[in-house]
Symmetry: C2
Subunit: 396 residues, 2 copies
Amino acid sequence: MNQLFSDRILNSKKSFIREILKITNNKDIISFAGGLPNPISFPTAALQDAMNTVTSKNGSHVFQYATTEGYLPLREYIAKRYQTKHGLTINADDILITSGSQQGLDLIGKVFLNKDDHVLIEKPGYLGAIQALSLYEPHFHQVDLFEDGIDLNQFKTLLHQHNIKLFYSVPNFQNPTGITYSKANREALGGMLNDTQTVLIEDDPYGELRFIGEDVPYIQSFSSNPSILLGSFSKIVTPGMRIGWICTTRPEIMDKLIIAKQASDLHTNYFSQRVIYQYLIDNNLEEHISHIKKLYKEQREAMLLSIAEYFPENIKITKPEGGMFLWATLPDSMSSLKLFELASTLKVAFVPGEPFYVGEIPQNTLRLNYTNSDPKTIDEGIKRLGQAIKTLLAQA
Amino acid sequence: MNQLFSDRILNSKKSFIREILKITNNKDIISFAGGLPNPISFPTAALQDAMNTVTSKNGSHVFQYATTEGYLPLREYIAKRYQTKHGLTINADDILITSGSQQGLDLIGKVFLNKDDHVLIEKPGYLGAIQALSLYEPHFHQVDLFEDGIDLNQFKTLLHQHNIKLFYSVPNFQNPTGITYSKANREALGGMLNDTQTVLIEDDPYGELRFIGEDVPYIQSFSSNPSILLGSFSKIVTPGMRIGWICTTRPEIMDKLIIAKQASDLHTNYFSQRVIYQYLIDNNLEEHISHIKKLYKEQREAMLLSIAEYFPENIKITKPEGGMFLWATLPDSMSSLKLFELASTLKVAFVPGEPFYVGEIPQNTLRLNYTNSDPKTIDEGIKRLGQAIKTLLAQA
């Protein structure tokens, strides 16, 4: 009997979060489990105007096949934003439009990874990256995260021990922890990369959502290694249109990414690229982002206040300066999976830490999302979760 | 020095058609090279109405993240169409919405192919399938196409000689040849598959565009092997929104495809799924398809008439009953690449046959698209091409 499926898919686990989100689809449940932007932040009316403008002005042309690289004016807009916001010398040729930045991860896997290559990610690390890159059958290694970035000693050791092909990082308001690497941390790790041939991947879906403190330069500013930035309109305009991008200033890498993109889906939804571009030029994006940041900042503060009120003191919580998530560490003896079960009976949900690890899995961590509930709901949900934690602690 | 790129991408050729299309972007050139639907066939006003309805009725919800499988009512619509048009027992659970059917090919590669597995395709075969599946590093084999389908003797031999994992076919109005498999051919090959463990892939982007003759049942009706249908709205509504689907009635295969889809781009553009669905329920699709078929039938007839007038008699031409392409076979001694160069100087373009082959490459074939030019332009282009052929023949 032949094997029907490929090794890569047989070794892929069913998504844990997918299963959890099925449970939390129940409307009775207060869910901190998802990673959804708040729909009240979507510029619905402005997007509708943009569609009508695009269709009326251009007619059928916007419904035709288009180029693999993406709509040139949109790529120019993105390049220019990197210049003005970050002082980076980026041109439209350095930008490839992707079907969400999740697809960027798939293309990176396609272009760089042979089976058994070594990939380094954060511990805990972004689940979507683990899923996407897993299909290219690498060996994963994880480097610990502290409040100010990665564990540099461990990083240096791992880089050299395993001849790391890719280092994947989410340096701003990381998923799942909310942690941001400090400038010193970025500088040190960038320097360490220079002694290697490791490709640096910086995934930055949340970078625009900083509501406390100052922006920090990308890690690539401190390293001369081949590097890639991933970006997305999902958290600042709309996630449902799946418009993201890959940015690299190395033409030889961009060439390969374009070949992989064409093989994967020819090109990203052209109409939606046109609509997003029209939205961007007809509206004030900075104002819109300010509005989202104000909203999320209030929700983050509501969650931290409620946690201070309802959680026992021995629960450690990260205090993100932006983004969408908090990360909680329970006492060593507690299981977040058991807490999840108990919390479900109290109609509140979160994501146990398990899917964010490869190899050895701490049992006592969990992720809380604050962007998709209003402050009152956050208070009620955290109250219930605090009750569940206290019940479980009392049982121990 | 480490190798920067993966083996799979280093072994992928730059797309030949991509390069050709760059030349033909010049507006002076009459191009039969692309595979574009005629934009005058796009239901632009109705799509604009659909967008406004979807946005006004549902608000921000349509801009949120959505499920990996796709919008349920759209999947139900597609399943029902298979039932009513083909008598197939297909349910919404058998449908996965993809980012164009090109992505279906990528997901099939992900789910089924280990390196060095054997894949059988038609000779000549669809370039996009060769590109997508190549990234999973299989060995390709090709089976000859006759006017009524594949060479059955060769098919049987190849199936058993190479323990074929996937057989990929475009049984209706094939790309690049325009050939349709007869019912007898489908029945015979379906029977041959039953003695193997080969997975049958039927890619059917053009099936709705039959303007001569009667529909023929899918090959899967004649085989009990695991099978997959690929479909798309690209040729009947709009290609630019990249909405296609995979259909399989085997839940174990669908499970794996969903895992691969989620890893690849989370889900297909949700807003566009909603718009296409709204368009489908608010309009008469049959009427719209009739309109497209009438248009393409006229264009096909114009091309065949002009060929009869301007081409020498020793050029063989397929006579498709639907779809978008004709296939020409020049005398053995003639090179379609040389013809391409000469034709370019006369400002007419086509695709030389080369990229549709793996392994041994006949030099004397070419593809002509008739869907994206009006009859007058077709006549002028074929006149120029006939002149180029005659010039080349005189030189031989």
